[in-house]
C-alpha cells in the first residue's frame, strides 16, 4: 500500500492538505493577540526558509553552511524596495515585496551556486562556508547598502490600501505570511514530484548513475540551488516586511547555523520534517530562551543526539511513534516504566545541575536561589547539588538496568514493523 508521503505515480491524498489549509487560515483569527500574530508570522517564514534549506540538504544531499546569505540578501532587497516605496520612488503592491526578495535570492543563488555546485560533498560545504563569510564581511564594508551594524528600516504601511488591507496590523501580516507559506509549501511539495525533483534525489544517491542516464549532476544541483535560493529570498522578504527591519545578523553565520540545526532536528528525510523544525525554531527562540539560559546547550545536545542516533529527526520519531502505536506497542509496555522514569530522572538531574551552574555563572546578582521545575534550589546549599546529582545517578542506574531488555524488545518491534511494510520516508 503506497504510504501517503510516497509520490511514485499516485495522487497524494488531499485530506492532510485540507486540514492544514483550514488550520493556517483560521489560526490568525483564533490566536488574535499581537504576540500570536508575530509568532505565526515567524513560523510561516521559518517554514519556507527550512523547506528551502532541506531542498538542498535532505533532497539533494548538499550541506550548505551559508543559507542565510540568500534569506539575508532577499531581506535586504525587500527592505530597500520598501524604503523606495516609502519615499514614493517606486510603486508596487506591498504584498509583492516577498517576490522581490525571492528574485534577489534567485539571482544570488544562481551566481554563487554556480561556483559552489561545481563540487560536491565536503568541498561544496566548505565553499558555501567561505562564500557565507565572504558575503557577511563584504556587507560590513558597504554600510550605505547594508546599513552597517545598525541595519536598514522601512515602513510596510505605505501607498494606498488595497481592498482595505494596509498591513498595519500584525494579523494582516500573518495572513500574508500564511498565504505565501501555503503556496510555497505546495510548490515545494510539487517540486519533489517533477523530473528535476526526482533527478535531484537520484544525484544525491548515485551521481555517477545519474550521469550515465543523461543528466549532468552539476547542472541538476545548480538549478536546485537556485530554486532553493528563490524560496529563501521569499522568506527573507517576508521577514523584512514583518519586522520592518533588516540587520547584519540576517546574513550571518549564526543565522545559517540556525537553519541547519533546526532543519536537522526536524528531520531531513521527510518532507514535513523542516516544518516540524520550523516550529521548534520559533518555540525555542520565543519560549525556551525565556525559560533557561542554557537553551543553546540543550539545543547542541539535542542536535548531536539527532545526528548520531536519530537520523530521521523529530519527524522521523513521530512517524515511527505512529507506526508503533498502530501495532506492536504492547511489546514495549514492560520496559517503558523503567526507561521513561530513568530518562526523566536523569534528564531532570542533569538539567538541574546545568541550571545551577549557569545560575552561579551568570545570575549572581539575582541571589543564590532559583526555581527549577517548581522546586526551590539554592546554589550555595550542598543539598541542592546532592539532590540533583542523586536524581541523575538514580536515573542512569534505572536506564542501565532496563536497557538490555528494552533493546531486545525494540528489536522485536522493528522486526514486526519491517514485516508489516516499507517505511514511509519521502524519497
Amino acid at each position: 500500500m503506497p504510504h501517503r508521503t510516497d509520490l511514485t505515480g499516485c495522487r497524494p491524498p488531499t485530506w492532510p492538505w485540507v486540514w492544514a489549509t483550514l488550520a493556517v487560515l483560521l489560526a490568525p483569527l483564533v490566536f488574535d493577540s499581537s504576540l500570536s500574530a508575530t509568532l505565526l508570522s515567524q513560523f510561516g517564514i521559518a517554514v519556507i526558509a527550512c523547506l528551502s534549506y532541506n531542498l538542498l540538504l535532505g533532497q539533494g544531499g548538499m550541506l550548505s553552511f551559508g543559507h542565510a546569505v540568500y534569506t539575508g540578501l532577499g531581506a535586504y532587497l525587500a527592505i530597500h524596495t520598501l524604503g523606495a516605496m516609502n519615499r514614493g520612488v517606486l510603486l508596487l503592491p506591498v504584498s509583492c515585496i516577498p517576490l522581490v526578495g525571492g528574485l534577489a535570492g534567485l539571482a544570488s543563488a544562481g551566481v554563487l551556486g554556480y561556483l559552489a555546485t561545481r563540487k560536491s560533498g565536503t568541498v561544496f560545504a566548505m565553499i558555501t562556508l567561505g562564500l557565507a563569510e565572504l558575503v557577511a564581511a563584504v556587507a560590513l564594508m558597504f554600510p550605505a547598502v547594508f546599513g552597517g551594524e545598525a541595519g536598514v528600516s522601512a515602513n510596510r504601511v505605505t501607498g494606498a490600501p488595497v481592498l482595505g488591507i494596509d498591513f498595519a496590523s500584525g494579523r494582516q501580516m500573518a495572513y500574508l505570511v500564511a498565504a505565501y507559506t501555503l503556496v510555497s509549501v505546495g510548490a515545494l511539495y510539487a517540486f519533489t514530484a517533477t523530473p528535476l525533483g526526482r533527478m535531484l534525489n537520484a544525484v544525491r544517491d548515485n551521481p555517477q548513475r545519474a550521469a550515465f542516464i543523461g543528466y549532468d549532476p552539476q547542472r541538476v544541483r545548480h538549478i536546485a540551488f537556485a530554486i532553493s535560493g528563490f524560496f529563501a529570498g521569499v522568506a527573507g522578504g517576508l521577514a523584512a516586511l514583518a519586522f520592518e527591519f533588516v540587520g547584519p545578523e540576517a546574513l550571518g553565520a549564526a543565522r545559517s547555523g540556525t537553519y541547519l540545526v533546526f532543519t536537522v532536528l526536524g528531520g531531513t528525510t521527510f518532507f514535513f520534517g523542516p516544518v516540524v523544525g520550523a516550529a521548534l525554531m520559533v518555540l525555542s527562540q520565543a519560549l525556551l530562551s525565556e525559560l533557561t539560559r542554557a537553551w543553546l546547550l540543550y539545543l547542541g545536545l539535542a542536535f548531536l543526539f539527532t545526528v548520531l542516533l536519530v537520523p530521521g529527526g523529530l519527524a522521523g520519531l513521530l512517524v515511527q511513534l505512529r507506526r508503533v502505536l498502530q501495532g506492536p506497542w504492547p511489546l514495549l509496555l514492560p520496559v517503558l516504566p523503567g526507561m521513561l522514569l530513568g530518562g526523566l530522572l536523569a534528564g531532570a538531574g542533569a538539567a538541574a545541575v546545568v541550571e545551577m551552574v549557569y545560575h552561579r555563572q551568570l545570575e549572581v546578582a539575582l541571589g543564590p536561589q532559583l526555581v527549577f521545575l517548581g522546586l526551590q534550589l539554592d546554589v550555595t546549599q550542598p543539598a541542592s547539588w546532592a539532590g540533583a546529582g542523586a536524581a541523575l545517578l538514580v536515573g542512569l542506574a534505572l536506564i542501565a538496568s532496563a536497557r538490555p531488555a528494552a533493546l531486545r524488545r525494540w528489536a522485536q518491534v522493528r522486526q514486526t514493523l519491517a514485516q508489516a511494510g516499507t517505511d514511509g520516508e519521502r524519497r
Partner: protein
Amino acid sequence: MAPMPGSVPALEMRALRMRFGRTDILRGVDLSLAAGERMALIGPNGAGKSTLFNLASGSITPTGGAVLLHGHRIDGLPPFEIYRRGLSRSFQITSLFPRMSVFDNLRCGVLWSLGYRYNFWKLLSRMDDANSRTEVLLHQMGLEPWARVPAMQLSYARQRALEIGITIAGGAQVILLDEPTAGMSRAETTQFIALIRQVTAGRTLLLVEHDMGVVFELADRVAVLVRGELLAVDTPAGVRADPQVRQAYLGAAYSQQRSP
C-alpha cells in the same frame, strides 16, 4: 558480422591507448562494431576490459587514440554527453538509486530521451508517455510485481535486471554491459541471457563476460583482450579454435566448459 566496408560502424576504437602513471593499460586497441552486432569482450583479469569500457562511456579520457560513436568522436566527453548521443552502459557492481522504487528507477532512465530535461514544472504523475514507457520496461524486465519496492530491497538477480532496465530505458542504440551475469547461478544466468537477447534486439551490444556459456550464446563476434592488446577478433568458433587464444586464455577455461 563485421562492419561492411563503406558503412559507418556503430562503435569504433582506433589505436586506443590508456596509461596510468607509467603503466600502459591499453596499448593501441582497434575495434569496430557494426550496427546491430553483438560482441563479447573477454580476457583474463587485468587485461584492460573495464578500462576499455570506461573509455568508451566517458568515465575517463584516453591518453591516445579515439573512440567513435556512429562515426563521431566521443573520447573525452563527459558520460552524460555520451549517453545523449546514444551509448549507454551498465555496471559490474550494481549501480542503482537504492532508495527509489523500481518504477522510479526506470522512469528516471526514460526522462531524458523523452525530452523532459531539467523540467520542474510538470508533475511526473501526469506524464503519460514517461509512465507508459516505464510500464512497458517493467513488463519487459519482468519486474512488475516489485514496481513500488525500493530498489535496495530487491534480490540480487532482480537488481541486475533493473540495472539492465535502466541501461536500455532511454533507447540508446549502443549498449555496453559490464559482466551482466556476475554473481548469478546457472539457472538465473540462462534466464538472464534470454532477457538480454530480448531487450537488446536490433541494438549494438558490447559485453564483457567471464562466463563462456554466455559468450557463445549471445555473441556474434568475440574480441580477446590480453595485457592491453587485442589478441583476436573473430566468431566464437573461430576464437575457440585460435591456438594463440587457447594458449593465452581459453585453454583452462575451455576445458572446464562443456562443449555446446
